[in-house]
């Protein structure tokens, strides 16, 4: 970690159309020392990713306007954002959906219902790896 505080705080984009859950994710990650930019739908999420070029994006799979897979693919398709790790939140039980997430280019997934602690440790695992 650098000593310059502005550079030291990694930005995370979090997107979910469920306001309560989105706030909780942001709350948890902010406490863990990240700056969180929130988005309420797929389009907002993609714009936020393009604008902030975050260290990580946490995306719900099912969102209005663009779903999590589409946003992930768009992130991967863009030179400027293609290396940003993506964690998908999936409400699905089917393995095919997880598979689809990885095909779209996600780095990891967390199944809803989820444990906030688990989400945090996945985030730290990915950010620590880099």
């Amino acid at each position: 970690m650098s000593t310059d505080p502005a550079a030291a705080v990694p930005v995370i984009v979090a997107a979910d159309d469920d306001q309560d859950i989105l706030r909780l994710i942001a709350f948890r990650l902010e406490r863990s020392g990240y700056r969180v930019v929130i988005a309420h739908d797929g389009e907002e999420a993609l714009n936020a990713v393009r604008e902030h070029v975050p260290a990580l994006a946490v995306l719900d799979v099912r969102m209005p306007k663009m779903d999590g897979y589409e946003v992930t693919r768009a992130i991967r398709a863009d030179e400027a954002t293609r290396d940003i790790p993506v964690i998908l939140l999936t409400a699905r039980v089917q393995d095919a959906d997880v598979q689809r997430g990885f095909e779209a280019g996600a780095d990891d997934y967390v199944r809803k219902p989820f444990s906030p602690q688990e989400l945090r440790s996945r985030v730290q695992a990915i950010l620590g790896r880099r």
Partner: protein
Amino acid sequence: METILVGFSAMSFVYFVLLNGFYLALTALAWVDLRRKVWRRRYLGLDDVFASPLTPGISVIVPAYNEEVVIVESVRSLLALRYPRHEVVVVNDGSADATVQTLIEAFDMVPVRQAMREGIPTAEIRATYASRPHPGLLVLDKANAGRSDALNAGFNAARHPYVCMIDADSLLEPDALLRIAKPLLDQPGSVVAAGGTIRAANGCLIDHGQVLDVRLPRSRLATIQSLEYIRAFLIARVGWGRVHALGLISGAFGIFDRSLLQTVGGLWTDTVGEDLELTLRLHRYLRDRGEPYEVVFVDDAVCWTEVPEDLTTLGRQRRRWQRGLWEALLRHRAMIGNPRYGVIGLLTMIYFAVFEFLSPIFALLGLLVTLGLWLTGGVGSGYLASFVAVSLLLGIVLSTAALVLEEVSFGTYKRRRDVLRLLAYTLLENVGYRQLHHVWRLLGFVDIARGKTEWGAQKRQGLARPVGGAD
């Protein structure tokens, strides 16, 4: 001569008493049913249905004719519907515009040699496309042969056990599919078809294929139709559904058991009343075989659709409905009043024949004859007043009752001014619009007599018919 006219007037008096009395009964049934259902909506457990791998798959079939402007938004919002297992099958019905090209570009689609069931014969399919990023999207490019033929092709291509019929320009609420599928889980194995509520989208604030804010349209004609649809769906359909006598699943939003559709041969392409004809055919087929089944109406599964705002288009739509009704009744005339078909034969079919199809004769001519008799002194003022009371005023009573039911069970229109406007329009709907509607129905007779057929482009307008007791 005058005796005959007086007799006719009396007949139409009786007709109105029966019709509106019946309608009052439907209102009461709808009231009872909605009172049971409204509070239960909180306990549907839709989250659980959404998360369950046991929820049956649904193929949403979207017939598209010259829809290049709306199709991408529409498909995007259909793909985003909250449902665990659904695919979207767009069937291009030989559009003259770039409907297919637009889809190919927007969804990164490539040609695939899609295997199709041969169950229902259709016009030639020129090409099929699958999307790279969206495994649940399929586009069929088919020679133009009308909406029903396009839907039939979609049924042949569908992979899931249930199919959902909609229009390219209708908007499903995000939970609509989940809600309409709920009866499949609650009564497993018995539900063969389910219909949802259709509302007029004119005037609403719409973004990305979703209704964000419900507003009444400015257009007078569209406002009247908003009221008409409330009455037709929340009273008639709910009431009919309550007594297991639902005779129509609207083609603008309904789900069907796919293999059953395949068995009965899909939609009949030679009629303009294809949704009504299909629903009746399903009833007939299953009752002939004595199989237990349910056709249900789901009041909280909502589809928004644009209704015509000018008289010409609306008139043409209603004439077509009248002709469609005739074609369906003619084909299934053996069911009318036939106890073999239970409540469908004894109640629904008789209602369709007498109170829908023949309605212009009694309702319009009866009113005119009575007015004429009064002017020439053939009947007294007291009789005229009673006639007006049972024909027009009782209609207003029914419309206000529908509005009360809407307010109590849904409260869709949030603005006070909108509700007051709807209330004022109950007058306009019953005095003026209703009679105009009957003129259109009467002109529908002319079309029928001429054996008029209009194919292709004309065929797919105005599918969200609120038939089922608007008259």
